[in-house]
């Protein structure tokens, strides 16, 4: 049986000190979602300018990869994607009504796993960058 739950207004960010784990998860999910859809439009735009011919494609991608800033942005993108994926799995379980009592712990687990994946990927992303 469903019952109402007054979470207050999350959009009122002035209340951030009162936010619970689930509210932070909601904010992080929105933020990472905005980044990912913004990136998707950028990704298709960049690839559109690169797919003129084979040589332009290869030189555009390798030119971007030669920039250290791009390598760090890729690590950031991985962190954003990893959190959105892991918290997204948590949300699917919440929507199915599975493990609701542990939804806050699942958020913390998503944060820790995101950090672990991100740190572990740094060597791969930075190889050949220096």
């Amino acid at each position: 049986m469903s019952q109402s739950y007054d979470r207050g207004l999350i959009e009122d960010f002035g209340r951030w000190q009162e936010f619970s784990a689930g509210m932070w998860a909601w904010i992080f999910h929105k933020f990472t979602g905005w980044v990912l859809i913004g990136y998707l439009f950028t990704h298709v735009a960049v690839l559109s300018t690169a797919t003129v011919d084979g040589a332009t494609y290869t030189s555009t991608l390798q030119g971007l990869e030669s920039l250290l800033l791009v390598r760090f942005l890729e690590v950031g993108l991985l962190a954003v994607a990893a959190f959105h994926i892991l918290n997204g799995i948590r949300l699917l379980f919440v929507d199915l009504g599975v493990g609701l009592g542990a939804q806050d712990k699942a958020f913390y687990a998503a944060l820790v796993a995101t950090a672990a994946v991100t740190v572990a990927s740094i060597p791969t992303f930075l190889v050949g960058a220096f």
Binding site: M1, S2, Q3, S4, Y5, E11, G22, W26, K30, G33, W34, L36, I37, L40, F41, V44, L47, S48, T51, D53, G54, A55, Y57, T58, L61, Q62, E65, S66, E74, L78, A81, I85, G88, I89, L91, L92, V94, D95, G97, L100, G101, Q103, S121, T124, F125, V127, G128, A129
Partner: protein, 121 residues
């Protein structure tokens, strides 16, 4: 404890499609990252390698489906986020159609890019 925390209207069509696309994207986004950053390092990607991957029907179809589901999931997510922020009335209608057009253009252009990557067009 409440049983429903989602900010979407429950049991709506967009609500359901958002979750179905989410379940698909969880797998394919992870695969995309793994394939183009860990199996093949981004710095070593060439058009020839991309062409080989995109010329496989299964890979091409997966990437196009990835594009369509990601475009829907992202644009629908933005719309819901804006509605949560209080978007209403005429503004809501205008933003909805702007997002529909932007999402459609993204899909069309993405398919053009994917086709160009096969080297056949």
């Amino acid at each position: 404890m409440a049983e429903h925390y989602s900010s979407f209207e429950p049991k709506g069509t967009r609500w359901l499609i958002q979750r179905i696309t989410a379940a698909f994207l969880v797998v394919v986004l992870a695969y995309h990252f793994m394939m183009l950053h860990f199996v093949n390092h981004a710095a070593e990607i060439t058009f020839a390698g991309t062409q080989v991957r995109m010329s496989q029907v299964g890979y091409f179809a997966t990437m196009v489906l990835f594009l369509i589901t990601a475009a829907f999931h992202g644009v629908n997510g933005v719309y819901n986020a804006l509605v949560n922020q209080g978007l209403d009335g005429t503004q809501k209608t205008v933003v909805k159609w702007l997002l529909v057009v932007a999402g459609a253009l993204l899909i069309v252009q993405g398919i053009r890019v994917a086709s160009a990557m096969t080297g056949l067009f």
